[in-house]
Amino acid sequence: MVKYSREPDNPTKWSYLSMLQNLEQKKSFLISRKKYPKLIAAGMSNFFSKAEVTSSGRPVLLHNEVECHLLSAVDLEPEDHRHFSLLKSGLLILTTHRLIWLLSSSASTPTSASAIPLAAISHIFSSKKSLKSVFHSPRIRFQVLVSSDGRVFDPSSGSGSSSGSGSRSVVVTAVIRGKGDCDGFLVKFWDSWRARVWETTKISSSGSGSASGSGVATGIGGGLYSSDGSVRMVGVAGILRKEQEMWESTDKSLQDAFQDLNALMSKAKEMVMLAEKMRQKLLSGTSSQTSGTNDEDMGSKEEMQDWLLSVGIISPVTKESAGALYHQQLSRQLADFVRIPLERAGGMINLIDAYCLFNRARGTELISPDDMLQACSLWEKFDVPVMLRKFDSGVMVIQNKSHSDEEVFARIKSLVTKPEALRTGISPTDAAMTLGIAPAMAKEHLLTAESKGLLCRDISPDGFRFYINLFPEIDPCNMYFVKDYGICSTWIKAVSTTGLGIGERSSTFR
């Protein structure tokens, strides 16, 4: 019977691999039957590793081991239960390090438990939905590496011994007879197994780099297991196993990259500790500052701020400081980027538009509006050719430093003194077309020109329009007098060329 695990991108490889494994199992089992009959008998009740239990019947967790999921009324059946013991109707606890099985009965508290280290698991089969599975209790199948004495391979005890542990793996089935969430458990099982939390603790505890977790050790000696207990890459099976591990590690790093919530939650404790440590260091640094600040100290403090920022923690030190290096770099990058859109937009671009363009260009690692604002405010301190400008109406724009308001006003004035404009005024759209900028920007310019006394507004059912300002030339004490070559006379001439007398407009004239 070939055991299939459905692998989307390479179905043939998987079935081949599992077929190989199956053949291997058969071979090794037959060998073991001949070779180690005594041990088999002994292994009847000792297939699984032993797990310690507290006085109230809870399993004793290892350092850093965290419980992930729990299922009740579970049977654990090793594949060959004729020779290995069956564990019936217990509590199956999934942790970050092990699968623990506890005999659960209401009468007595369990005194001992069995465990399978996750490190010993070589493969987890995905659940098969078939007609049969509708009627049966759900089953979770996984493959466990078995050492030479027939017991579950225990990496913590077996490391260092080159006893030539067998290349066998046994399929264990967990039959879930209770009401637990089987699919959820399976997902968590995958996650915990892939997370390989036990490896990080092993590295930190061993200290030397020799006991690396994913042993691609090219050691001497035969067999699939190298001296430190990790899997070696030999032969076709080795190549295939290598591919499998590569796939698994890519998958794992992808998961990390997407910051799976589960992984983050397990790292939350570390994060909190780190944040506290950093906060203490930085705060103590600023409070104990004497008049002569050491440059080195400032540098390392800035680095720490950067690290904090990179994990998303806002610097606890004041924001008015020269700004973390991150913001400085962002500021420069933004100044470079915004040059081309500025040219295209005629020298002035709305801050919101610039934000959208910038983020779109970045693709991933988007910046927040707050970052954008800080980056723009930092431009004052650098020598960049762009600046942030806030209009009276509250609109914020990015414009070239070389941009001159006077030049724009001159262009507006020439536009608004054309005969057509003298008669009907100009709208922001007209100005936008002439000046070659966005209508919103044009309106800002017109409003600024108005505030300088260059234009007057005219609000009517026709809309919001601007005219050249005639008021300065009119004398209240001599209202009827019109200067000969002033703007008023120009206006009167323009208005009267419709041939209807001063100020009279035909109804078709808009």
Binding site: G425, E450, S451, G453, C456, R457, D458, I459, S460, R465, Y467, N469, L470, F471, P472, I474, P476, C477, M479, Y480, V482, C488, W491, I492, V495, G501, I502, G503, E504, R505
Partner: protein, 179 residues
């Protein structure tokens, strides 16, 4: 030149921004000044003494450029007149405004001159006679608003130039001059 009745309108009356209350301070100051003068002139020529904001006022709309002063703008200009002392609000709700294109003092002087010109120094007249009597025809006093007239008379009474008394009939008050 455009006209509104007999009144000659200035050229900027057809300048559309003239009918929109300008936000920029310098511009709006000029605009308010122009409107104040225009209103006073118009009222003087047309002998209008009261402007009611809720009614149509010919000066506040221009059909040629199709613009009308908003209520806010009207109130702003009239308030400016009141602040200058050339107008008064007749009610708290600011719906009716008394236009003093002559100040009360000026009206008082006009009355004194009128009395002197016609030799009424020691005679008695009713208030209504001052307004619409034969003698006042052709003078500025013709058709003067009663409120204004009474105020002017009271001012003169205060100065001792005349005395106001209630008439024998219940309708009108009389004035005895002692200019």
């Amino acid at each position: 030149m455009q006209k509104l009745g007999d009144f000659k309108l200035p050229h900027f009356f057809n300048y559309p921004p003239y009918f929109t209350l300008q936000p920029v301070r310098e511009t709006s100051e000029k605009q308010i000044q122009l409107w104040k003068e225009l209103i006073l002139d118009y009222c003087r020529i047309q002998k209008i003494f009261v402007i009611r904001l809720e009614e149509e006022f010919p000066l506040f709309s221009n059909s040629v450029v199709e613009r009308t002063l908003s209520h806010e703008a009207r109130e702003a200009f009239l308030s400016a007149l009141v602040a200058e002392g050339r107008a008064e609000w007749l009610d708290k709700g600011r719906r009716n405004c008394l236009i003093l294109w002559h100040r009360i003092q000026e009206w008082a002087d006009i009355i004194v001159n009128f009395v002197k010109d016609n030799g009424f120094e020691d005679s008695v007249m009713t208030v209504e006679e001052i307004r619409s009597g034969i003698e006042s025809r052709g003078t500025e006093l013709q058709g003067i608003d009663r409120t204004i007239l009474v105020r002017a008379l009271k001012l003169l009474e205060h100065k001792g130039k005349l005395a106001i008394f209630k008439g024998t009939s219940t309708d009108d008050e009389g004035v005895k001059f002692s200019v």
